[in-house]
């Protein structure tokens, strides 16, 4: 019987306590905000959309290798010695034409692993977090600043250069080979003549 009355009393009393708490909260200012109109200020280290500053990129491929989901796709073409690609802001000399720098942001997992290995700090995370698209393809960001024509040109350039180099190399090799052959021939000749000489000399002697 006592338990019975106690149960009744506890039931009513704890409900009243609970109601007191919720009633108090009726007058507590709300903690939510009207999102698209009002926005929460983001802290400085915030990790959202990736951005690549192509002026500084040297095409070293370190970010792509660090990425756990393979969302960065980089293609580069070597420059020819005559071309000046300029310098990055921290004084590194560029040596590669970055013909393709695609980030599939739909795959990106925002882990920031690509940011740390970058030697020129050119890939970083910005505070943009509203970038939904209607088509998946539009989420693949092309950062490369080069026009397709330019890319072709650079490729051609490099190939030409390569070809030239090859040719030069080949020529050099040929020359070298020739030289070597020549040298050999000469040597042989020398030896021959020497031999001859010796022979002759021997002959002479004999």
């Amino acid at each position: 019987m006592r338990q019975y009355l106690k149960n009744t009393w506890e039931g009513i009393w704890t409900i009243i306590i609970g109601m007191k708490i919720t009633f108090k909260h009726l007058f507590v200012p709300s903690v939510t905000i009207q999102y698209p109109d009002q926005k929460v200020p983001l802290p400085e280290r915030v990790r959202n959309r990736l951005y690549v500053n192509m002026d500084d990129c040297i095409g070293c491929d370190q970010c792509a290798r660090a990425c756990p989901v393979n969302c960065i796709d980089i293609e580069t073409v070597k420059s020819t010695p005559g071309e000046n690609l300029g310098q990055t802001s921290n004084g590194k000399k560029k040596a590669l034409w970055v013909t393709k720098f695609d980030i599939d942001i739909a795959k990106c997992c925002y882990c920031q692993l690509c940011v740390f290995p970058c030697p020129t700090d050119c890939i970083y995370m910005t505070d943009v977090y509203e970038f939904s698209e209607f088509k998946r393809n539009e989420l693949i960001y092309n950062f490369s600043t080069m026009q397709p024509g330019e890319v072709e040109e650079k490729k051609d350039n490099f190939e030409k250069f390569q070809a030239e180099k090859e040719a030069q190399k080949a020529a050099a090799a040929k020359a070298k080979a020739e030289a070597a052959a020549k040298a050999k021939a000469e040597k042989e000749k020398d030896e021959k003549s020497k031999n001859n000489n010796s022979k002759s000399s021997s002959n002479d002697v004999s």
Binding site: M19, T22, H25, F27, V28, S30, V31, T32, Q34
Partner: protein, 355 residues
């Protein structure tokens, strides 16, 4: 109202239709406000803002939702009994709407001034059970079935403490008509039943604690009858998804919704009529002081609605505070706690009334 209309026009059918349609004019705006209130109350209790977009502070949100519900596709799943499936929401709504016939909105308006008002309400609200069972059974969904079964057991069980409490009040006031009951508790709040009624004397003060108990029992059991938290077993969203209306969509779902909110107000109104003077103002009438006779019924409607909405607010308040009881505990509360208490209460009030 019905009688006076018959007298004026002489057309019984016209009078019946008009007086039957009156509560709709009250119910629909009420539901719109109540749904808005529910969302705002819950939001502010939880330190949120709630609906803010449609209209000033989201005032038109419910209307927007209503249009959304109308536009929605009426999904009828395969393998269900279509006839009864379609009929069930209307039956539930009819059950809850029929209650309004006996509610005295003011001294001048009552749908049907029957002498058995209160028992009519208890009887007619049983119709809701039939509708819910029908909805649950024909949905051909296990969750719906469980919800409906629980609901039926719950509503029928909780009618017993309700009836017992009402019995004790009837015994004491000596009337079954809600209109008469409200009339007795004339203006000024110390005449309300919860404070011992209009007659001054020792009995008034002796009765107060017992009437308070009676009020709590009545309030709790009506709460259970309308399936509100902590007794929302039939809909228990974390167990039964949405209970008996899992399979309903669009307008049919809206009918259940309407019925639920209609019921909420109806039981709140009954509580206010029985214990809190119904349409009577707590401080006397402005119309009487100013000598404007026609203002009084409007003031009464205002007080009636205000009291009803206050109790609806308390229901919401409870809902956003309390967890849900389990189905067997629900029965325990009813059979082991409320019914014994109400029997004792009945006895005591009876003895006091006799003396």
């Amino acid at each position: 109202m019905y009688e006076s209309l018959v007298e004026i026009t002489g057309l019984e059918i016209f009078a019946a239709f008009v007086s039957a349609a009156m509560p709709v004019a009250f119910l629909v705006p009420f539901v719109i406000i109540a749904v808005y209130l529910e969302r705002k109350v819950s939001a502010h209790m939880q330190d949120r803002l709630g609906p803010m977009r449609v209209g000033y502070h989201g005032l038109l949100q419910t209307i927007a939702d209503f249009f959304k519900l109308i536009q929605k596709e009426d999904i009828v799943a395969e393998g269900i009994d279509k006839k009864f499936f379609n009929f069930a929401p209307f039956l539930v709504f009819a059950g809850s709407y029929a209650v309004y016939a006996a509610l005295p909105f003011s001294s001048k308006y009552i749908g049907s001034e029957t002498d058995l008002g209160i028992f009519y309400i208890i009887a007619i609200s049983g119709l809701v059970v039939a509708g819910i069972l029908m909805a649950g059974w024909t949905s051909n969904n296990k969750y719906s079935l469980y919800g409906a079964m629980r609901s039926a057991a719950q509503i029928i069980s909780y009618e017993i403490p309700t009836a017992l409490v009402i019995l004790s009040i009837i015994m004491w006031t000596g009337t079954m008509s809600l209109a008469t009951m409200s009339e007795m508790q004339t203006a000024y709040f110390w005449n309300w039943n919860i404070l011992g009624g209009p007659e001054w004397g020792i009995t008034k003060f002796v009765l107060i604690p017992f009437l308070l108990v009676a009020f709590i029992i009545l309030y709790v059991s009506t709460l259970a009858e309308v399936n509100r938290t902590p007794f929302d077993m039939p809909e228990a969203e974390s167990e039964l998804v949405a209970g008996y209306h899992t399979e309903y969509s669009g307008m049919k779902f809206a009918m259940f919704f309407l019925a639920e909110y209609g019921n909420m107000f109806a039981v709140s109104a009954i509580v206010s009529v029985i214990f809190f003077g119904g349409y009577q103002s707590p401080f006397g009438y402005l119309g009487n002081t100013l000598g404007i006779e026609w203002l009084v019924p409007f003031e009464q409607v205002f007080w009636f609605a205000a009291k009803g909405i206050f109790f609806v607010f308390v229901q919401m308040w409870l809902r956003w505070t309390l967890p849900r009881v389990r189905v067997d505990q629900l029965m325990t509360i009813c059979w082991k706690y409320l019914i014994p208490y109400s029997f004792v209460n009945l006895l005591v009030i009876g003895i006091i009334t006799l003396l």
